[in-house]
């Protein structure tokens, strides 16, 4: 096979052939009416499509021979007992315990996190963000509450946001509306993970790095809950939402590699930074993700 043809079209499907789904549905008896007739008629005259149908039938025969229902039934009941509840499976798209485990962290971040972790606006010197890092201002939180030492729940990470508005420090919810000039600070909950990268993408699609503000690898941090990230940040006047992504890992990651993954997700979301709220990193990175965002009140720019 020539490498340059690898991504040209899909598989062995010829022009004019029905897609693989149609053939599978035909074999399973889930195609109706005209569509069923058309696909079946095509398959009778198409060597490739007939081979797919033959393959499906051969696989069925093999499964029923090697694992007949009478033998499988008792183990099905055992497996059913061991599975998570139905609602959870449906919510994750029809899936697996491992898959739910992978997703669980993000659900925790999204549902249980009282305030988002927007680590972002830190190194704001970058790009169009007029970030004035001022006096270190500490959010009123206590470190190290809540996470059992030694417990590795990869998804149990969070990035929480505090905002200084009119002299008051408030814990801000995800999607909180802030104004250019508002100062924010982040805390993180990392479980046992001790490396962190925080990036942000603003409404213009500009990707900025906040933690670490220099160097190629992750920032080494103290594991724990509600740990304060140094330095407060002042929001710039980039319009629209600004999404902040915290990536936690056991081992240091290359910031550039994470940036590529985020750019990919951004491209898949048609440039909308809110696409990152559902960010899933490649498993090869072996990292946990917490995402949060703020909405900027544009009127404030004119004040």
């Amino acid at each position: 096979m020539k490498l340059e043809t690898l991504f040209d079209g899909n598989g062995q499907r010829h022009p004019g052939c029905p897609g693989g789904l149609s053939l599978m549905l035909l074999h399973s008896g889930e195609l109706d009416g005209v569509e069923r007739q058309a696909v079946a008629a095509h398959a009778r005259q198409c060597e490739h499509c007939q081979a797919v149908l033959d393959g499906l039938e051969a696989a069925r025969a093999r499964q029923l021979e090697e694992a007949p229902f009478d033998e499988v039934f008792p183990t099905l009941e055992e497996r059913l007992e061991a599975l998570p509840e139905r609602g959870a499976e449906i919510a994750s798209g029809g899936t697996t315990r491992e898959w739910l485990g992978y997703q669980w962290g993000r659900l925790t971040v999204a549902l249980a996190r009282p305030a988002l972790g927007y680590t972002a606006l830190a190194a704001v010197a970058a790009a169009a963000v007029v970030l004035a890092v001022v006096q270190p201002w500490r959010a009123p939180v206590e470190p190290d509450e809540g996470v059992a030492p030694g417990t590795r729940i990869k998804g149990a990470v969070a990035l929480d946001l505090y905002a200084l508005q009119g002299g008051d420090v408030v814990e801000a919810e995800p999607g909180v509306v802030l104004r250019p000039g508002d100062r924010i600070q982040f805390t993180y909950t990392s479980g046992p993970l001790d490396h962190l990268i925080v990036l942000g993408v603003d409404g213009r699609g500009t990707l900025s790095r906040y933690y670490p503000d220099h160097g190629a690898g992750s920032l080494a941090v103290t594991p724990g809950a509600r740990m304060v990230l140094e330095d407060s940040l002042v929001l710039d006047d980039a319009p629209g939402p600004e999404v902040f992504v915290a990536i936690f890992s056991d081992d240091p990651l290359q910031v550039a590699e994470v940036e590529v993954a985020i750019q990919d997700a951004l491209a898949a979301g048609e440039g909308d930074p809110r696409a990152l709220l559902d960010l899933q990193l490649p498993p090869a990175l072996d990292a946990a993700v917490a995402v949060t965002w703020v909405e900027k009140e544009l009127e404030a720019i004119e004040e």
Partner: protein, 189 residues
């Protein structure tokens, strides 16, 4: 949870859809033992998930998604899988004999090896497109996505894979050059 099915209904589902699940698991994993195991696990999950009274999705659609996720988890969790697949391929009758289907086997193996470069939501679409030979329209319907979204996510996979393959080829070339230089020096002495 109250049981939504009887033994008879479970048997009907199993006999009707066993081929679909086994065939797909085999295509994705290229391992008969794993495919048989995945098939049984997929049916347990189908029985947990599928409610004929409130079926937003058909059993086939659910089984396709369940099988994909189970197979991807297996690939993800088995660090030695790639080597295992290579051994299977070498042992497969007719391996290396060319068409029909030979390019497809090579291609599927390569696609599998590239999956970890992208996130799980993209991996599922890659399996549907490159291994199941579904059209983008079918994938969009299966996952309730727009066709442009499917296209964009597949583009991400292609871009990442091209970049990764190019990097690996350059690295291999550099290794070959280094070996050639060492051999050349040794011969000159």
């Amino acid at each position: 949870m109250a049981r939504q099915w009887t033994r008879q209904r479970a048997e009907e589902l199993y006999e009707r859809y066993a081929g679909l699940v086994r065939y797909r698991a085999m295509r994705i994993l290229d391992d008969e033992e794993d495919a048989r195991e995945i098939t049984q696990e997929a049916f347990a999950r189908l029985l947990r998930t599928y409610d004929p009274e409130d079926a937003a999705e058909t059993p086939a659609a659910l089984l396709i998604k369940i099988t994909t996720n189970l197979s991807l988890n297996l690939i993800r969790n088995a660090s030695s899988r790639r080597e295992k697949l290579r051994q299977h391929r070498d042992a497969r009758p007719g391996a290396g004999d060319g068409p029909p289907g030979h390019d497809s086997i090579e291609r599927t193996e390569l696609i599998r090896s590239l999956l970890e470069r992208v996130s799980p939501d993209i991996q599922r679409l890659v399996v549907n497109y490159y291994i199941d030979d579904m059209t983008k329209e079918e994938i969009a319907r299966l996952h309730s996505l727009s066709v442009p979204t499917v296209r964009k996510r597949l583009d991400v996979f292609v871009r990442r894979s091209r970049s990764s393959l190019t990097r690996e080829m350059v690295q291999a070339l550099l290794v070959c050059l280094a070996v050639a230089m060492i051999l050349s020096n040794a011969a000159g002495r």
